[in-house]
């Protein structure tokens, strides 16, 4: 686990897909967000940085993961947010608290339409957790 990257893009015919790992659920959720954003070209913006906090709850961890990433997709599209910091502070009992900061006004050239549930499963593996995400683009 220690030698494996926190996320990596894996082939998908029509869309984008990443495999994500984390030593615990908190790290997995954080790495999933960073991995998703790494698929986009980082635009320039000099607008003042803003901060947002999230408290989310779902009936299972997979739904919580989609909810969390969907919040970030919304910020990417509606505010053109160029992320500086992504911090998942806690992820227990299908709930998470997170804080992000970044500069709005970025003009992204590429687009994530949505975070899918396609065969989504968070698996416990040696040294932590792993999942594979597919994004509609």
């Amino acid at each position: 686990m220690a030698t494996e990257p926190p996320w990596e893009e894996i082939p998908h015919t029509a869309d984008w897909s990443i495999r994500v790992r984390g030593a615990d659920r908190r790290a997995l959720f954080e790495n999933a967000a960073r991995g998703m954003i790494s698929l986009l070209e980082r635009p320039q913006t000099d607008r003042p940085s803003i901060e947002r906090r999230f408290s989310l709850q779902a009936h299972d961890d997979e739904t919580l993961l989609v909810d969390w990433l969907t919040e970030l997709v919304y910020l990417l599209e509606e505010e053109g947010l160029v992320f500086n910091e992504i911090s998942v502070e806690q992820a227990v009992d299908h709930a998470l608290d997170a804080r992000i900061s970044g500069r709005p006004g970025g003009r992204y050239g590429k687009h994530i339409k949505a975070v899918t549930y396609h065969l989504l499963e968070i698996r416990e593996v040696t040294g932590g957790f792993e999942t594979t995400l597919v994004f509609d683009v």
Binding site: H12, A14, E41, E62, Y108, G109, V115, Y117, D136
Partner: protein, 483 residues
Amino acid sequence: MVRKQDFEHISEFVWELPKSYRYDMRVPARLYASERLLEDALDDASVEQLINTTTLPGLVKYAIAMPDIHQGYGFPIGGVIASRTSDGVISPGAVGYDINCGVRVLASQITLEEAHPLLDKLANSLYRRCPTGVGKGGGIDLRESEFERILLHGADWALRQNYATRQDVDRTEAQGRLRGADVSKISNRAWERGISQVGTLGAGNHFIEVDLVSEVCDPDVASVMGLAQGNIAVQIHCGSRGFGHQIATDYLRAFQDVVDRYGIRLVDRQLMCVPFHSREGQDYYGAMCAAANYAFVNRQVLAHNIRQSFEEVFRGVAHDFSLRQVYDIAHNMAKVEKHTVDGEMVEVIVHRKGATRAFGPGFEELPVEYRPHGQPVLVPGSMGTASWVLAGTPASMDETFGSTCHGAGRVMSRHEAKRTVRGDHLRETLEGKGIHVRAGSMSGLAEEAPQAYKDVDEVIRVVTGAGIARKVARLVPVAVIKG
């Protein structure tokens, strides 16, 4: 892994996996393909995904994959299923996030010879007038009440606001308006995303393309459609933007919490569905119809902007610079229709994801001039390659719930395309072939490289060979505006 020998070879272009292939299949799975395209389909998870769709409740006849099938997320792209409205389901996963993503073709009377010296200027004008890229900005300014009218009335709103002609509306699937729209079933977030994006192209695989009508296969039908060999035409490919994406996201999320209550077991959570007549099913249907109306208006406003570009560039140069609508067709949608099943007419909800309607001659929804010929079908190819205008047939009504293919279909992953193709090199290659390219993102351009797609002519050979559509005209690109 599914193997070629697992299929029963029904006819030259039809392959079927029987219901017995997997214990949880409720109906067989049919694939329209040549041997070559079947082998392409077996290279990724698309056939497994097709099999998964056969497990949904209430399906009739069989699940169908068109020859442009490729791996999606849950439902394969190029898939068609029909579920009885009486005891079947509606599935936002089987429609997709880009509700009523579709294609519009506009025909001109301008020859390529006349247009050629001005194509660069035309590409610049189109790129300026038709906003591209992610998110808000550049769309038309709308009050809340106007936006609501768009969602309820679709193309009728555009007609009243002078964005459309009567002929545009008549030559749009469902006259550009689904009557089941219910704005009370739309979240605030969908509303917020949607109101600022009407009249925008978006990003991804969406595009505006100026084409040459390179070949006319059925002169009589092409003439009725206004397509003449040697003239230029325009294609628009886009959908319901963030509005549709948010509606799909909202209902996929909401259904996660209720699906167990209906006793529905899913092999893939993205195939999320609920009974069509349940409260939740009707809520989604009302929201989906609103997103469909949004997409019809979105393509209509873009068509209006494109007409302004044609006037700006060709006034005083061409005798007639008007653009007449050939047709506008959806390829991600669920529609309530009646089809013959075991000799009886049955009301079903047909889900087409990456597949189009292709209703045959006599279809009453069509304008009078198209009724004898069948519904126009618009099949864009990959960037830099041909596209096709087809017409629906009686066989498509008998075999495929009045459906046919929607495009070329991918064979190469976006990851692989980015790795092997450089966007700037691709742009130079296309420009070298005389195709003017405008694109915001070079890596986005690389992901849409022609080599990432199947051969569209082979896809068309299959659907016409199988008789589920017939050829009318072939288009080749001369300018591409990439979203």
